[in-house]
């Protein structure tokens, strides 16, 4: 084990708690408080990954979530997590990480050859070639490209961890717990406002933890800890560590993801890996800090070259150093602090190179005193070394180039405020020449920005802006803000003069590290006409990598601006979109996967059906009994056929509870029904039921069902299962929106009633045995289409409807849902000696086809009432929804596809739904397509396949022959077109 990079003392890590981990199979150790990145540095590991396109060796660039280079696969097996930024992974015991996007190994990667061909693989090269021969694209080129592309590998087995979601509400959401955010949160919280303070880091404090500034005479990190403790103790504050605010949405909605257990190997039992939060905030204060920019010079991507602020974080927070001999290259005062921090930690400083010639002399005074080489007005033009930095070439202010040996280079190209979240609702940041950066422009409603995120780059100003915004926001929300003193901190020098691109060095100068976009690519895109920043982005893929250009975008825009000889302000920025950092798909899904993807609705008869051995099937939101296998039966068809025969010859019981049921009351109930159904309901007698058809306003059929009148001002409507929710909404719209003057009250009672269909010649006899004696259900007293409230089984309230879907003498019995299963069992018991059988969806489907009843396959939104043979129901005497548009020319032409029955001519032939209807002797082409088969069944009654279909001309085609052509399954069956009602066309049986 090497401890090459670990400093002997210092840092906020817990040296008493060593941690073992593995990288590419090598065991290493670090300490509690380390990130994977700091631990790797501590172990002297410089080469961590490979870039996307050229497979260049890469190290660690940053110390935060902006990291473009140090991506690794974390964990293994089903928990393998590709593209994980080593800089954000908290070290835990047993952590396993692997480098990615390299083959066969990190040290030797074949595809690094791409780098040599860099001249040919310039931006967008793939748009210009791989076109010949045409067939080679899918077969040869594309597979090669795809294999080379991509980064890490995803897991191939189901993610074993679970995720959950939660909602939180607050007055003020503070995003970022650096000095500005902490100060804003403290000020707001002390006023009593409900505050949420979220930071993606595990340790609040922001830059304070990576720097050596003092606040009120104490280490900044100590101040942060104290502030955090105060906040944690306040009941009106929710402190959310390891929580990234990833997106801003409308109405003060913020998306956040909390990494609840990513800092341990496996989440403890019952705990999620991550939790997604929806935070509803009346106000937000963005205190997300600023990101340092790299400098763009030849080979600026060599492992060992790092952002200056990151070098400081590694030294000050983690007690590691990226090298023993450090050079610094900067265009801002900030870079000098890195040199000072490194020197203080005992790292040898080889040189400080500042591109500015007029640097305040005080800046490096102590370094000069220690004899460290200082270059002013100079630039690093090239880095040397390949898998590790070995030296840099410096061009001094006279133009002389010298080379300096070093194994680490800290670079600082200035700081860009983290304005990402200000753009999520479309706002664009604006260029500030003074900051040499984009600062927030139009903000999302309710948001203010403080600290470095707003260009307040020094500590004192960060604290002050945090306090001011905290106070202002709290008093905006009518809170009283007490005057607390502002903690004292220095306003350190922070001036900057941007240096966008150092030319003159040999080798690619990277702008976007991960996607390998160079300064030259930017120039090329511009030359080729991809001049809008957005086109530049898309053509070069700049800023489209996992870091979304956090460190690269501004440099690229500035280089583009200089290519175009325009100010940066005129070039503008690309749009930042959520998420701020990538979010695990599992976290955004939460609990709702597998069986919990969507709620399962169970019928009140579910228990009964289960006891009866039902085979269940997912049907929309419901789980429904499909058929009831019995010993000796081989498939569903055998079972369903038996069930049909039982109904047709004796009696069967099925569950129709899933139908929508709507209770409609009030003096104007009948009027409303007349307006929503195409047929009339105001004429319906009390105690009677009627089949109704509803149209959409565009004249097509929307739904059908029976509606019964229980009292003059009381109806119960049934809808199809699939449309139950939609019809309720539609009725409410008609009432509230169109005819609010009607005195109607509607309530869904779908959940309240279990509904059982008892069908077959012996249904009445069966029912008589459970209906309480005082209710006469004889044919005379209770004829077809009677609907009445009764009691069963000694006082259980029920509603009995004499309606029939099967075509037999049949009833539907509604009983309160709680007793549904018990009543069903009682009926089974009562009908036992009569041969009662439970029947399921399949049998129901067969019988409705035998009867020519339309269902979802026919009422598919494309058919009119006339198409379905229901035209006679369309009243001419009243207005109703859909009446007018149903008369449009194309809806009444005689060649429209109308409902018919279909019988294969060879009675042994099987037919299938979805086959199209082609005239005999004609070619199977669209031009000859006369319709299609909507539904089929094997009819046990007729012992043959029968079907329903829609055919051009409809009923006029009865008696003709047609082919049912199913090219998908290779069948072509001749059939006779017939009346859709196969069974008992006169309807005698249901009157029995």
């Amino acid at each position: 084990m090497s401890s090459a990079g670990r400093l002997p003392t210092g840092g906020l890590i817990d040296r008493a708690r060593p941690i073992q981990f593995r990288f590419d199979g090598r065991s290493m150790s670090g300490f509690a408080g380390d990130t994977l990145a700091s631990a790797l540095i501590g172990n002297g590991v410089g080469l961590v990954g490979r870039s996307f396109k050229y497979h260049r060796p890469r190290g660690i660039l940053s110390a935060g979530s902006e990291e473009p280079n140090a991506l690794a696969e974390l964990r293994s097996g089903a928990r393998r997590e590709p593209n994980t930024r080593a800089t954000t992974v908290e070290l835990f015991d047993g952590l396993e990480a692997q480098s990615q996007n390299r083959w066969p190994s990190l040290g030797f990667d074949i595809l690094a050859l791409n780098g040599l061909a860099g001249g040919f693989l310039s931006a967008g090269f793939y748009y210009k070639t791989f076109m010949w021969p045409a067939a080679f694209w899918e077969k040869v080129y594309e597979p090669l490209i795809r294999r080379a592309a991509g980064l890490g590998r995803s897991a191939s087995a189901e993610d074993p961890d679970h995720y959950d979601k939660a909602h939180a509400h607050c007055d003020i959401l503070v995003i970022g717990a650096g000095p500005a955010g902490l100060m804003a949160a403290l000020t707001a919280a002390r006023s009593g406002a409900r505050v949420i303070l979220a930071d993606e880091d595990s340790l609040p404090g922001g830059r304070l933890n990576g720097e050596r500034h003092e606040i009120d005479g104490r280490a900044g990190s100590k101040w942060a800890a104290t502030a955090t403790a105060e906040l944690a103790a306040m009941p009106n504050v929710r402190l959310m560590r390891r929580t990234t605010i990833f997106g801003v949405y409308d109405g003060g909605t913020y998306g956040a993801v909390e990494r609840v257990n990513d800092h341990v190997a496996v989440p403890p039992p019952f705990q999620p890996r991550q939790r997604m939060w929806r935070i509803y905030a009346r106000r937000a204060i963005l205190a997300a800090g600023a990101l340092e920019r790299p400098l763009v010079f030849a080979n600026n991507d060599r492992p060992g070259i790092m952002l200056a602020g990151a070098v400081r974080s590694y030294i000050n927070r983690f007690g590691v150093t990226p090298g023993q001999r450090l050079a610094v290259f900067t265009c801002s005062d900030n870079g000098w602090r890195a040199a000072a921090d490194a020197a203080a930690a005992g790292v040898s400083i080889e040189a400080v190179i500042d591109s500015r010639s007029d640097v305040a002399p005080a800046l490096g005074a102590d370094l000069v005193a220690r004899g460290i080489r200082i270059f002013r007005g100079a630039q690093v033009i090239r880095a040397l070394g390949s898998r590790a930095l070995q030296a840099i070439e410096v061009r001094d202010h006279t133009g002389r180039v010298s080379s300096i040996l070093c194994d680490a280079l800290a670079m600082s190209g200035g700081w860009s405020p983290v304005t990402h979240l200000t753009s999520h609702l479309g706002g664009r940041p604006v260029w500030s020449e003074a900051h040499a950066a984009f600062v927030p422009g139009t903000l999302p409603p309710g948001m203010s920005v403080v600290g470095a995120a707003n260009g307040a780059m020094t500590l004192a100003r960060a604290l002050a802006s945090g306090r001011d915004a905290g106070a202002r926001t709290a008093s905006d929300l009518d809170r009283t803000v007490s005057d607390a003193p502002l903690p004292k901190a220095d306003d350190e020098p922070a001036s900057v003069r941007a240096l966008w691109h150092v030319s003159g060095g040999r080798g690619p100068a990277f702008v976007d590290f991960q996607n390998d976009v160079t300064a030259k690519d930017v120039g090329l895109a511009n030359r080729e006409g991809y001049r809008s920043v957005e086109l530049l982005k898309r053509y070069t893929t700049l800023g489209m990598a996992t870091d979304q250009g956090k460190t690269s975008n501004v440099n690229a825009l500035a280089i583009l601006a200089s290519e175009r000889a325009q100010p940066v302000a005129a070039v503008g920025t690309t749009l930042n979109r959520p998420p701020y950092t990538p979010v695990a798909i599992g976290a955004l899904a939460g609990h709702h996967r597998g069986k919990d993807f969507r709620a399962t609705r169970l019928s009140p008869l579910h228990e009964w059906a289960r006891e009866q051995g039902a085979a269940f099937i997912e049907s929309g939101a419901w789980l429904r009994a499909s058929w009831f296998p019995r010993p000796g039966e081989n498939d569903w068809l055998e079972s369903a056929s038996r069930e049909v025969r039982a109904v047709r010859s004796a009696v069967g019981l099925t569950d129709v509870s899933t139908l929508g049921k709507i209770d409609i009351q009030g003096p104007d109930a009948a009027t409303l029904l007349d307006r929503v159904y195409c047929n009339t309901f105001s004429t319906l007698q009390v105690g009677r039921a009627r089949y109704g058809v509803m149209l959409r306003e565009d004249g097509f059929v929307m739904d059908d069902g029976t509606t019964s009148r229980l009292a003059a001002d009381h109806f119960v409507m049934t809808t199809t299962t699939a449309n139950a929710v939609g019809i309720m909404r539609h009725l409410e719209f008609c009432h509230q929106g169109l005819w609010p003057d009607l005195d109607v009250q509607m309530a869904s009672v779908s959940e309240q009633w279990a509904q059982l269909a008892i069908a077959g010649p012996k249904s009445r006899e069966t029912l008589t045995r459970i209906v309480d004696r005082q209710h006469d259900i004889s044919d005379a007293a209770f004829p077809y289409l009677t609907a009445r409230e009764i009691t069963v089984l000694g006082g259980t309230r029920a509603r009995l409807f004499r309606i029939s879907y099967s075509g037999e003498l049949a009833y539907e019995l509604a009983v309160p849902a709680g007793v549904g299963s018990a009543v069903a069992s009682a009926i089974m018991e009562a009908g036992k000696d009569l041969g009662i059988q439970p029947y399921g969806l399949e049998a129901m489907g067969i019988m409705r086809i035998e009867k020519g009843h339309v269902a979802g396959n026919e009422i598919n939104g494309q058919t009119t009432a006339r198409d379905l043979g229901l035209g006679k129901m369309m009243s001419r005497k009243k207005d109703y929804i859909g009446r007018v548009l149903a008369e449009r020319p194309a809806l009444v032409t005689p060649d429209r596809w109308g409902l018919v029955g279909l019988k294969p001519v060879d009675w042994t032939s099987r037919i299938r739904a979805g086959a199209h209807l082609i005239p005999i002797g004609a070619a199977a082409t669209t031009a000859n397509d006369l319709g299609y088969v909507t539904s089929v069944a094997f009819s046990p009654t007729f012992e043959r396949w029968i079907g329903l279909g829609l055919i051009s001309g409809g009923a006029s085609k009865h008696g003709t022959r047609i082919r049912l052509v199913d090219l998908l399954r290779g069948t072509d069956v001749e059939a006779e077109v017939c009346d859709p009602v196969f069974y008992d066309p006169k309807g005698e049986r249901l009157h029995g």
């Binding site: 996307f52 593209n83 310039s122 793939y126 748009y127 210009k128 070639t129 076109m131 045409a134 694209w137 899918e138 594309e142 294999r147 890490g152 995803s154 191939s156 087995a157 189901e158 993610d159 998306g255 929806r278 999520h424 479309g426 030259k520 030359r527 080729e528 001049r531 957005e534 898309r538 979304q548 979109r577 998420p579 695990a584 599992g586 899904a589 939460g590 709702h592 996967r593 597998g594 069986k595 993807f597 969507r598 997912e618 306003e697 929307m702 396959n857 939104g861 020319p889 194309a890 979805g914 199209h916 082609i918 199977a924 669209t926 000859n928 397509d929 299609y932 199913d966 998908l968 399954r969």
Partner: protein, 416 residues
Amino acid sequence: MKYSIFSILREGLRGGKGWTPAWREPEPKPHYDAVIVGGGGHGLATAYYLAKEHGLTNIAVVEKGYIGSGNVGRNTTIIRSNYLLPDNTHFYEWSMKLWEGLEQDFNYNAMVSQRGVLNLYHSDGQRDAYVRRGNAMRLAGVDAELLDADGVRAMAPFLDFANARFPIQGGLLQRRGGTARHDAVAWGFARGADNRGVDILQNTEVTGIRIEAGRAVGVETTRGFIGASKIGLACAGNSSRVAAMAGLRLPIESHVLQAFVSEGIKPTIDQVITFGAGHFYISQSDKGGLVFGGDIDGYNSYAQRGNLYIIEDVHEAGMALWPAIGRVRTLRHWGGIMDMSMDGSPIIDKTPIDGLYLNCGWCYGGFKATPASGWCFAHTIARDEPHKLNAGFRLDRFASGRLIDEKGAGAQPNLH
């Protein structure tokens, strides 16, 4: 300059100094034979085919932003011709045919990749509807196959076959369907049109349509008036706004559809797969990102962004379909504004105003239509009458009832 491996080698050796603009940035002329409003895929393709097929070269495409800033640059790249109704089937199949030779035609690699589009079904009813559709495709000469659950498993074993709320029963597969690189389609048409003399005017917003004596004579723009003998509108999500400049109201609502891309990962999913039990579809780009999406947000919007609940909804469906992607991360999500028509099908037609032509109503399916739409619109503009292929895409079909409603959802645009 012709693009080829040779030009790449040559320029590679010369440091890329010889590459020239893919399209010019000309000043607007005072008058064009035709002005196409909208530099999206359809507008650019229209100009391209006007020049290529109809010999018109004095043409401008007027685009308010950069070309491809609309939906062509923000869609999930699926191309297919698996439609049900004849007007659509023939049109989209023609589009597919054009895709198949497009890159060689316009000399730009748009990465048209016929990797297959697989629509999963989860119930008998869904299966029947897919069989109906698949047969309609086959009658029209379009390829279609029906898979059972095992067939799906063989193609995509990583889907949830074990614990799904809506078990996968099978799928309708169109092998010739697939994806194409969205931006490259716009750029290829733009470059091809430019090569044939078309002026592409970026950052030029149309603010008015000048009509004199019942005839459209030009467009007011942020760069001044541009006269035109014929004006074609191809403004997708902004169609209602632009048509309103000519006093037209359309059977269109503008809705936001969101899309998502994950971090790049090594190849995992080969086809385009759509999940019939939730609103979800997914494929993997050549770069390695999983590209996926779901249902529209459902409310009228011009904001090019959506809200969190759809984002969650889409990810729930993703996890339900493919439970191993839990630890893959979503990298970015965005929205586009779509011209949702009242029957879910497009309009390519003349308008009641002479010299003004309309191309809109693409809903979330217009990317695949890009070549055929441009081709048919060019024909309609050049000949002043629709081609047979777009004869059904009429503006008056809502009044006549000759609707093209694939889903049967009726006049509710947010359900299409």
